[in-house]
Symmetry: D2
């Protein structure tokens, strides 16, 4: 085959659209022709050199596309099928996978565990911001898009929606729970939607951007708090009449929001953390009841794999949730560097950018 265009990490603060050979497929791989992809906050961390990847790596981990070629061992799919693959692409065969921790997959590790090892696209192998993408362990990771759903309708499934929902799911939200979600970026908005889907009956969304708070209400928030105008912990305590929340979801990755989450919890409550942190975190003694509070702090990396993708697309196709409002801008792959510029500076009310090769 010939060449394709791919967005490549060069060095800190420098990414470039380059020509690269279209990848070959091994026996367990699939090649997909990317039809739509998007940019994630994590990609911006990579661009800024805050999260290290190899020079020359194609970045991006949120693919929608068409199967172009299947490896010799990949049964159950057909070339020409429209599919997505999760941002996390577990092998299925590592020890981590075989005990249910697919995102900590150590495919090539002695022990079968690797921190965040299920995240391969745009991290340890070439990613999705390109014309073509090689999907490893394709039988575990290709998930056909139901007829009638557009690329943009399923574009959030590979990462944003899976991550946001995990914040609600791993906190084990029960019917009748009160939940606060700190930060209403794309992941926080999906956590808000996930809390609603799990049966929370008082959902409080915190942000400072009016547009985001407005979408939070669409996603299921019963109350919104603009933290630039009021102290969110005080406000949560007012809303809950002093009781605190059953679950607090952290969707930013900062000390202030982590700490505010802890301070909002009722005794015995759960802090569900989705943020990618860039510094140490402090747990204040008082907010922690000195360790006597029967609390849980849970971190979650985006769940992947084809069954997860199937279920998320079912949420869309059953009209339980509509995430199209999150796609605020559209760019051609040729213009992806401009899209990064917009997205990384959070200009023009951007939430997510659809990129079409």
């Amino acid at each position: 085959m010939s060449n394709m265009k791919a967005l490549v990490f060069i060095e800190k603060d420098r990414i470039e659209l380059e020509d690269k050979p279209i990848p070959d497929v091994g026996p367990n791989d699939a090649l997909i022709r990317v039809t739509t992809t998007t940019i994630c906050g994590t990609d911006v961390h990579i661009l800024k050199g805050e999260y290290p990847v190899a020079t020359g790596l194609t970045i991006g981990h949120e693919p929608v596309g068409i199967i172009e070629k299947l490896g010799s061992e990949v049964t159950g799919f057909e070339e020409g099928q429209r599919v997505i693959a999760g941002a996390i692409s577990p092998s299925g065969y590592s020890n981590a996978c075989l005990c249910g921790q697919w995102s900590q997959d150590g495919q090539d590790n002695k022990h079968g565990f690797k921190p965040a090892g299920g995240w391969r696209f745009g991290n340890t192998i070439d990613g999705a911001q390109a014309e073509y993408l090689r999907v490893p362990d394709a039988r575990a990771n290709l998930s056909p898009v139901p007829d009638g759903l557009t690329d943009e309708q399923v574009l959030m499934c590979p990462d944003i929606m899976s991550t946001g929902f995990a914040g609600a799911e791993r906190a084990n939200i029960q019917i009748g729970d009160t939940v606060v979600i700190f930060a209403q970026g794309p992941i926080g908005l999906c956590a808000t939607a996930g809390a609603k889907l799990k049966g929370a009956t008082t959902i409080i969304a915190v942000d400072s951007v009016p547009e985001r708070l407005a979408i939070a209400r669409q996603m299921g928030a019963d109350h919104v708090i603009d933290f630039s105008r009021v102290d969110p912990v005080t406000e949560v305590m007012k809303i809950t009449d002093g009781r605190g929340v059953d679950v607090a979801i952290e969707a930013l990755g900062r000390q202030e929001t982590f700490e505010a989450c802890l301070r909002c919890l009722r005794p015995g409550g759960t802090l569900s953390s989705l943020g990618v942190y860039s510094g140490d975190i402090t747990i204040p003694l008082d907010a922690f009841t000195a360790g006597l509070g029967d609390n849980r702090i849970i971190t979650s990396l985006c769940p992947g794999g084809k069954e997860r993708m199937r279920r998320l697309m079912e949420v869309i196709s059953s009209s339980r949730l509509n995430l199209e409002a999150l796609v605020t801008h559209r760019y051609k792959l040729d213009d992806i560097v401009s899209a990064y510029d917009l997205f990384s500076h959070q200009r023009d009310g951007v939430l997510k950018v659809a990129i079409t090769p």
Copy 2:
């Protein structure tokens, strides 16, 4: 009735054995004549003024005794029965209790939740280091001691054993797990025993006191690490061939041990915290995989209530575990101030002190 002796908190660094009226019983109470009790590390915190209680409060929360009197509504028990009551004495009727969080019981709270509110003896009401103890909500809290078990055999059930086991239980230890327990005081030793009972197959105990490490082996430790001679995290990684542990139990309440626990975890592992902290805790970014590790940090307060006590005594009576080695010293109630002196200075290899009124 007349008076009784009781150990009373006067002010920081001052406790005294005083005469106090024997308590009356309300309709839901029981009065027990204490036959054996003990001193807990938390009591030492109280003595040192690090954990505030009211002046004049009788301290202690680990009673074995004989039912002296039952309130009018307390059925199912008989005067003269030998019983224990848990350190945590849940009401059973609060919102916290009714959703399974008995230790965060807000009996008298608007919302029914209160941080560590199930802990009443020697905290918010008079405690067990006295000749008599009033047990509130007696139907939820009195647990008959099986014939054939001595006071000392069940003396650890109300707190130490219940707390230590909770560290293993709430971490959801599975058959075949590898577990490290930091600190082998009485609670850490019981966490070690709990890990064994839950099916962990590689159990690593960390302390610096040779006698404690020797008892740790009796409790089920397969490996012991003297942290004064080697770096425990390095050693855990050696023992696990670089894999890390599934569960790390913190049984001290310090930054070093909390952090060491995090650093010992395999990707996706669980930190189960039993320590009572006296300062803020820092979660180092690297030990936390930046929040992407699918980790859980769980804190547990001692579970109480009569069903818990029944089960723990079953562990003893079925010979699954023998905790008599933990009782290293014996004192009369009259000499309890000396017992505190020994215990608080950790002299003479003391683990737990049996106090008999």
Copy 3:
């Protein structure tokens, strides 16, 4: 006090409205003046002599009312407050309660467990179809009705809604699950609503009454099946493209529906049973994969207690669900015998009957 009217079980097929003394309250009781109550399918079983209760017992277990009098130990409530109490009224203090199985509460049992022992109203003590109701263990069972909710809005909380939701909750329905619910009487309809609230994305409701199937759609059913016209198992397999359902909820209590549930399950699926059976149940070998299917069959009795009631009323007040459509008929307590006649013969499209003393 003087007398009150109460519906009393006399003998098989005979119930009568009688004069009875208004109950006294003990220290832990409350007396509530019933403002609205309703008739349950179980009450009809009692009337028909299929479920034995003592002659002279007041029946009914779904109270909404006003606190008339509080026992000396009952704090946290005020006379004049509007409250509900669950059909199941756990003590909170039995061994069953203290290990989280509140509905199997053996308040007065040696071991603290009793089959369905949490169900007291209209079963082992006088019930709610009367002018006044004594609520035992009132601190565990009284739940204030939020301002702004009418009696009829919360009338389903004590039993129907709690039971129906339990079918979805105890099956551990996950986001993206496919669920079938057999029978769309009041409990089945609430199970349908519960499946929706838990995040199921394909919900299939089975019944033969068009009105019920229409309400099922309002409750969240994506598909409805009229079993009088098509074979429901075949139809479920069509809808799921041969895959089967993750969870099947049985809400009738018959062999046909139990068996159909099993036959609808995907490998590894869960049967959640809410029905009250009146005969042996057969598990067909083939529908059971000879025991190799990793299946779960779970039965659930209505969860009770004030925290449960609080959460269910939150579902109503947060507008997550509106159950007013279930109240199809209204009667005065004086006419309750006629109401039984209508309800037991399922005339006039009756779902639930509101009874006002």
Copy 4:
């Protein structure tokens, strides 16, 4: 390559040792030279025609052996390594696997679920009673045997031990539970051992063969019941003083034992079924509390995969359990037909037979 000997199913009641070609390996396969294997009760069902398999299939599903050849994609292993593979050999990549139900793996199914589909060896592909065995999806299924463990020490891991333990694990046995296990064949004995490892404190084993009851005591039974001399349900109620058991494990697959399990349960108890049934099962109304008992009936198929095998071998190597007593007889592969004769007639106190090619 040339030929090998393999035990082949010919027709009902007829198995024969035949010459067959040594299998080729595909990219994801491994070929192992079997050094020890054994016969399972399920194999006897196959021999008797009670469980249908294809004519010509090699039977057996419990391999210990040496890696002879690895497929091109199989990394992380070396030829010459000593390994086991589970009786259930999940692919890791099906929808069932990707939601944690590895034993219901539909590798080649449209939906990714198949009843008992993880069981391939000696069921849908050639099995282990042969000189060589092809292991599909080898990266998910090969598990290296720790140095120092003999073939016979790990021979129970692939099936018997994994299945028996699952009975205890999936019932979620807690510290202090009372558990009865009906039938003390190899699987029941392992369920007894599993109950002990999970922390049960009263373990009751039921059988009629004195030798089995004697081994049951070694495995952890506190009480044994000879059902040929006393009624086991009556006896369990005596031992538990009328309370019943928290968990009853069925390890035979018959109506009598299934029903006896139900009748032994305390209210809210769990029946964990391991038996392979050969007829319909009846749930008696009274033993089921008419569906109101908050009971769970759970069936479990043997868990497989390399992580499971690793953990089970850890149980052996940590000396938590010694299953060598289960190997009562030893045969050469050449004599396997005689071994079947002995085993299927349960002659000479046979429990398990080691077969060495």
